[in-house]
């Protein structure tokens, strides 16, 4: 998509953005692909023209395709194949915890599949999905909305819609037994533990309760996991946790989704001790209603964190949330209702949500066994 369009040759889109003082990128996630620019406000019309130009049609040849296959293979190498832990936990856990192929295959792509892609494959994919009736356009910043709408009309209105295939069935069956998996990582020199639970559907009261559970158990140095596993027991220096961990956050996916918790540890601490420490905190949440101070703190963290998410990457975060709510819910205004929904969550709902979703048979435990020789620095 950066290789050439109707009126812009290879690298010309990139240079158009950069030479106008902007930055650009694009990314593929579980259930959307986005392209974005952050540019000075006075270049808005230029950028709308350029985005429309590439939605109208890409113009690439086999050498461009070959080049991008090589680039993407290098992307997979630098992020996964040549990295210790590489696919842990962000690819390993979805592949293990999910049953439906759409959610359980290696979404980053196998190098052989990448090599097998042809120009006609790419063309068919573009024509099927890169259509205005399958897309949302979001513009945020300092401009006149009326003028922006005129330009959007001018450049996008004539692009024909595509006949969209029926959406795939992404649903996951209810998990009924704990899953365990492990792999030896030949580049890693310390063990690691990852856990995943399937989370409630978006926009349900339980989903908001789960967002608070994430705060109480997993976010920040005041969280219960940090206090227990880091501060008290000294098992690790950090516990990472999050809904949509590694690829986004609670507000930019359609689902189904996992809550992933992960940490690195020493070989002297067996994974079962770590899991037991996690279980103690999870079980406390299932049995004892959270106290008022803990709930208030979790809500404050959510509020503060929402500002951070919206400001992320020069305002891209807000753009991304608006695009997600527009694309998945046809309701970008939901961005303004999140805090109120979190405010409705009661201690009792948190306890019920914990019981329903943090149950052991809704969980996957994944361990990394280090396969690298001890480094020159030695292990303890």
């Amino acid at each position: 998509m950066f290789q050439g369009s109707t009126n812009l040759g290879k690298l010309e889109f990139i240079k158009l953005v950069e030479s106008n003082g902007g930055i650009l990128n694009g990314s593929t996630r579980f259930d959307f692909t986005n392209y974005f620019e952050i540019v000075p406000a006075h270049t808005l019309e230029t950028m709308l023209w350029a985005e429309a130009d590439r939605m109208k049609g890409l113009a690439i040849d086999s050498s461009n395709l070959r080049n991008q296959q090589d680039v993407v293979k290098n992307e997979v190498k630098v992020n996964v194949l040549n990295q210790p832990y590489g696919s842990f936990p962000w690819i390993d856990l979805p592949m293990t915890a999910n049953e439906n192929w759409y959610n359980a295959h290696n979404f980053y792509g196998d190098l052989q599949d990448l090599d097998a892609a042809t120009l006609s494959d790419a063309s068919a994919f573009f024509r099927r999905y890169y259509a205005p009736n399958n897309a949302v356009l979001v513009v945020v910043g300092d401009f006149s909305p009326a003028r922006a709408k005129t330009w959007i009309e001018k450049y996008f209105a004539a692009i024909p819609p595509a006949e969209l295939p029926p959406p795939p069935d992404l649903s996951e069956p209810r998990q009924t037994a704990e899953k365990r998996a492990s792999r030896v990582d030949s580049l890693a020199n310390r063990p690691a533990l990852g856990l995943a639970w399937h989370v409630p559907d978006r926009w349900t009261p339980e989903w908001f309760a789960f967002g608070l559970i994430d705060q109480i158990l997993g976010q920040g140095r005041d969280s219960r996991f940090y206090q227990s596993l880091v501060q008290e027991k000294g098992y690790t220096s950090e516990v990472s946790a999050g809904i949509n961990w590694g690829l986004g956050h609670q507000f930019n996916y359609q689902g189904p989704m996992l809550w992933i918790v992960s940490l690195f540890h020493d070989s002297s601490v067996p994974p079962d001790s770590l899991v037991a420490a996690v279980d103690r905190e999870v079980e406390a949440l299932m049995t004892k209603p959270v106290d008022a101070a803990t709930l208030a703190r979790a809500r404050t963290k959510i509020r503060s964190g929402l500002y951070d998410t919206m400001e992320q990457f020069s305002g891209f975060g807000r753009l991304d949330m608006l695009a997600s709510f527009a694309l998945f819910d046809n309701d970008p205004g939901r961005i303004n209702r999140l805090e109120a929904e979190f405010a409705k969550v009661t201690p009792d709902l948190i306890r019920r949500t914990a019981r329903a979703f943090l149950r052991r048979d809704n969980r996957t435990v994944y361990t990394i066994v280090p396969g690298a020789q001890a480094s020159a620095a030695g292990s303890q």
Partner: protein
């Protein structure tokens, strides 16, 4: 957080291009961009305070910068500064570690501490209504740390584990090796302590490091965002007013190596080689600094830059190559960094040097340079449009004594750089014969490819 930054190959078959191409509509008139003004005052004990009201989001960034770091470590104290910074958050004479964590969270805040070559930073962001309380928390952890032996033991173990994990990453190995080669026996060359050294660090050593190197004369507190300036200034004076002045910052500029060196660290069967190529250049106080940054942007610093266009968009050797000019006291370093497919390691170096030599011998076309300069001006606006971006900018200006004229004149000075100046700057500074090369990769495949680069061609 890990991100897939994918400029991917979601590409499409050629549309016949028979009609004449349409040109993009011209942009409108640029709006003015001014970095928000700051107020900087000195406290009687020598500490500086800078406040910049900025933005509309009800948050505040509060960051204390202290002029210490690896620079103050002896050869047997590697990462003692980092451990000291870690220990700050483990309790004060008045607050337990748990109190600190809980109170920061209650303020919608995240409190952190970190140590680098010559700066320790302590602080974070909080909701605006808690600005003064958060400032008080920052002051407490810096001025009154508890430094308990039991915490030191736990944090040592964390450092040992985190070091081991870092050193299993090829980019980190490459970074460490490059620093060793370019900084020689200077403290900047020492990144990770061996386990045996770390294991010796006691709470007493941490306390001594803190007593020796933390003090008001070395400290500068920055506050940006939405807050009440008068109240924050009052709170800062109250919280830090009694802090002892302490000693001035250590001045020990490195003398980086400036001749061809090459080292290959074996990582058997690695599918990529992690490559660094670089050399000492001028520091930020030099009149050449802005020209060096423009030269770097055209060479490798932007997505549309020459090296990236060549080894990524033309050859497909790599995914995310980049170059930059880094700043240290009395020296800069220019560096190109790339993870390239193993069997084209030598070919990648060839193309990197080709692009360097091309810029040294021919002035860039006016249009190419204009595009890059516009990009830098746009990035300047983007980077200075966040609370922490502003602090980064002002801290850089203050650390190198550049004065606010640097910020005010940045756009004008970037736009004034000419094609001949870029060529002259590349010719003056970016001599391949003086570059250090480190490669972390599969030795049996890569070593023969590196042979031509071992010695600089005379």
């Amino acid at each position: 957080m890990r991100c897939i930054k994918a400029l991917t190959a979601l590409a499409l078959l050629a549309t016949p291009l028979l009609a004449q191409k349409e040109a993009p509509p011209s942009p409108g008139t640029p709006k003015d961009f001014r970095v928000p003004p700051r107020k900087t005052v000195s406290l009687p004990n020598g500490m500086k305070l800078t406040i910049v009201p900025y933005g509309v989001v009800p948050k505040v960034a509060i960051r204390l910068q202290i002029g210490t770091g690896s620079i103050d470590e002896g050869p047997h104290e590697i990462q003692l500064s980092a451990l000291t910074a870690d220990m700050l958050l483990e309790g004060t004479t008045a607050r337990s570690a748990q109190d600190i964590s809980r109170q920061a969270a209650e303020m919608g805040g995240t409190l952190g501490s970190a140590s680098s070559d010559d700066q320790v930073t302590v602080g974070g962001e909080a909701l605006s209504e808690n600005a003064e309380r958060f400032l008080g928390l920052v002051a407490d952890v810096v001025l009154n740390p508890r430094f308990a032996e039991s915490d030191a033991a736990r944090l040592r173990a964390n450092r040992i584990r985190d070091n081991a994990i870092a050193l299993s990453q090829p980019q980190q190995i490459s970074r460490v090796r490059f620093r060793q080669m370019i900084f020689g026996d200077h403290p900047y060359a020492r990144v990770f302590a061996p386990d045996s050294m770390l294991s010796r660090y006691s709470a007493g050593m941490v306390r001594a490091f803190h007593a020796r190197n933390y003090g008001a004369r070395r400290a500068h507190l920055y506050v940006t965002g939405v807050f009440d300036p008068a109240r924050v200034e009052r709170a800062a004076r109250a919280a830090f007013g009694k802090w002892a002045a302490g000693s001035p910052p250590t001045l020990n500029p490195p003398v980086p190596v400036s001749h061809r060196q090459l080292d290959l660290v074996d990582r058997p069967d690695a599918v990529q080689s992690s490559v660094r190529v670089g050399l000492p250049v001028a520091d930020p106080t030099s009149p050449d600094w802005i020209r060096l940054n423009v030269t770097d942007a055209i060479l490798g610093g932007a997505f549309g830059s020459r090296i990236t266009s060549n080894i990524r968009e033309d050859k497909g050797y790599t995914y995310s190559p980049f170059s930059f000019v880094g700043a240290w006291p009395r020296t800069g370093l220019w560096l190109e960094v790339a993870d390239v497919t193993t069997n084209v390691t030598g070919a990648s170096l060839k193309e990197i040097f080709y692009e360097v030599e091309r810029l040294r011998s021919e002035p860039p076309p006016e249009a190419e340079l204009a595009g890059i300069k516009n990009n830098m001006v746009g990035l300047f606006a983007i980077q200075n449009s966040s609370r922490n971006g502003l602090i980064n900018q002002l801290q850089f200006v203050d650390q190198y004594g550049l004065g606010d004229g640097y910020v005010a004149g940045y756009v004008k000075n970037v736009l004034a750089v000419t094609p001949d100046q870029v060529k002259a700057t590349a010719a003056k500074y970016l001599d391949p014969a003086r570059m250090t090369i480190t490669v972390v990769g599969d030795k049996k495949t890569v070593e023969p490819q590196l042979e031509p680069y071992r010695a600089a061609v005379p």
